[in-house]
Amino acid sequence: MKVVLITGSSKGIGLGLAKEFLKKDCAVVISARGKEKLDQEVVNLGNDFESDRVMGKTCDMSDFDQVEALWNAAKEKFGQVDIWINNAGISNRKKMLWELDPKEISSVVNTNIIGLMFGCRVAIKGMLEQGSGQVFNFEGHGSNDMVLAGLTPYGTTKRAVRYLTESLVAELEGKPVIVGTIGPGMVITDLLINDLKNMTEEDREQAKIIFNILGDKVETVTPYLAEKVLENTSQGAKIDWLTEEIAQERFADDAYLERDLLAEFGH
């Protein structure tokens, strides 16, 4: 039985992944900052699957001691951690840099970069000691150098994630620990719906067109990602849902062009 730990997994893609790994007979540790939502999801997952395969532990990823405690708790409960997924991430509201609250910028950097570095630091160290393991880091807008006015801080952190992971691949060459990236594409989550709500009317209409073509639901994306993660044996694996090729195909496919995915989410 593989043990999978997912950060930021009380909702959205993280929670979706947790369900998929449970379906595939893994033990899963879910984690988030807020205790109430996390406890509730642990109960839900425990009801849907066997409760002894699910564990929850609160963790603020920007606090190194909490990240270390998360590793230790998982290890204590399940004996080892085979796969550690750094999924926790937040976005800034879509605004020009000069209009953003510096506190928001700080939170985005703390969670998306410092938190992710702490996650890698703790998981890689633990996995080297246990002699095996895989770490996956979530990419997002910016990782492939695409820029979008208003998403600069978020994109900056996600570009850093790609470099960091590639750099860690080099550091781990010849060692028994694998690192890779997961590119989930454009998934319709609270994070994204909140973005939409905060946009100007004009921006929103434009964004909706793109989301309807390129977006996907959590349930569509996570089975593929979980399967690829469990199959993986390559150092530096890049597990991508929406490749540039697929994106281009969708722009030429009526079924996608006419889709109204957001209607299901009330937009």
Partner: protein, 267 residues
């Protein structure tokens, strides 16, 4: 007379940039965390270039309030700020991520990434209000996607900064402000020498030829950067001292690869 603010300018490249700006008749605001070294360097430059063109102000760039004070003090003293150079940066010890002190991880990201984002934000707000201005961010190892074992954290911040600057150039596209980056190449500074002194002696010997071929002194690099900055009018420019072509050429040129930066510096 143009006014230039340079963060992290009590030594190294920042100090060199300050000197070159003063040589070219600019007013300069120097800034660093430590007041003592800063006061000394301000006094030195004051002696050489004459009173009232140079000012020092301590600033910890991880604190956005202090950056705002730096802007306000500069504005009060010189009336306008024409150029703002985000130069302040620190490196981590050359060590695998899993062995790095987490406190160091935070410091490097706070200074190199948050410091530059905050610096850009404060300068942008001020420059949009004043109606013009230029902002430059310092690139470094990692910006061009080069990797080196033990420098994944530093490299991540510098790769992220390149993205940040490109994304910001897009955000200010319709604004009267210019944003660009400066790539100083490999410069022999205390910052670099301290790193090298901590390195495993065998490893140091193996990379010395690279430094001897590719590195330059502050005095060689900073005039190029300052000249380009002072005459630039184009948004989104990268001024690169050591291009890939130039690096390749130097490995073929004995005037470069036979240089020795290390003996006289006791390494």
């Amino acid at each position: 007379m143009k006014t230039v603010v340079i963060t992290g300018s009590s030594k190294g490249i920042g100090l060199g940039l300050a000197r070159e700006c003063l040589k070219r008749d600019c007013s300069v605001v120097m800034s660093a965390r430590g007041g003592k070294k800063l006061d000394k360097e301000v006094a030195n430059l004051d002696n050489v270039f004459g009173i009232d063109r140079v000012m020092g102000k301590t600033c910890d760039v991880t604190d956005v309030a202090q950056i705002q004070q730096l802007w306000d003090a500069s504005k009060k003293k010189f009336g306008n700020v024409d150029f703002w150079i985000n130069n302040a940066g620190i490196s981590n010890d050359t060590a695998l991520l899993c062995e790095l002190d987490p406190v160091q991880i935070s410091s490097v990201v706070d200074t190199n990434l948050k410091g530059v984002i905050f610096g850009t934000q404060v300068a942008l707000r001020g420059m949009l209000a004043q109606g013009w201005g230029q902002i430059y961010n310092l690139e470094g190892f990692g910006s061009d996607d080069t990797m080196f074992e033990g420098l994944s954290v530093y490299g991540s911040t510098k790769r992220a900064l390149r993205y940040f600057t490109e994304s910001m150039a897009q955000e200010v596209d319709n604004e009267p402000v210019v944003i660009g980056s400066l790539s100083p190449g490999i410069v022999i500074t205390d910052f670099l020498l301290d790193d090298l002194r901590k390195m495993d002696p065998e490893k140091l010997e193996s990379i010395k030829p690279v430094y001897n071929a590719l590195a330059d002194t502050v005095e060689t690099v900073t005039p190029f950067l300052v000249e380009n900055v002072l005459k630039n009018e184009e948004n989104g420019k990268r001024f690169i001292w050591l291009t890939k072509d130039e690096a390749n050429r130097r490995f073929e040129d004995e005037n470069y690869y036979n240089r020795d930066f290390f003996t006289e510096r006791g390494l």
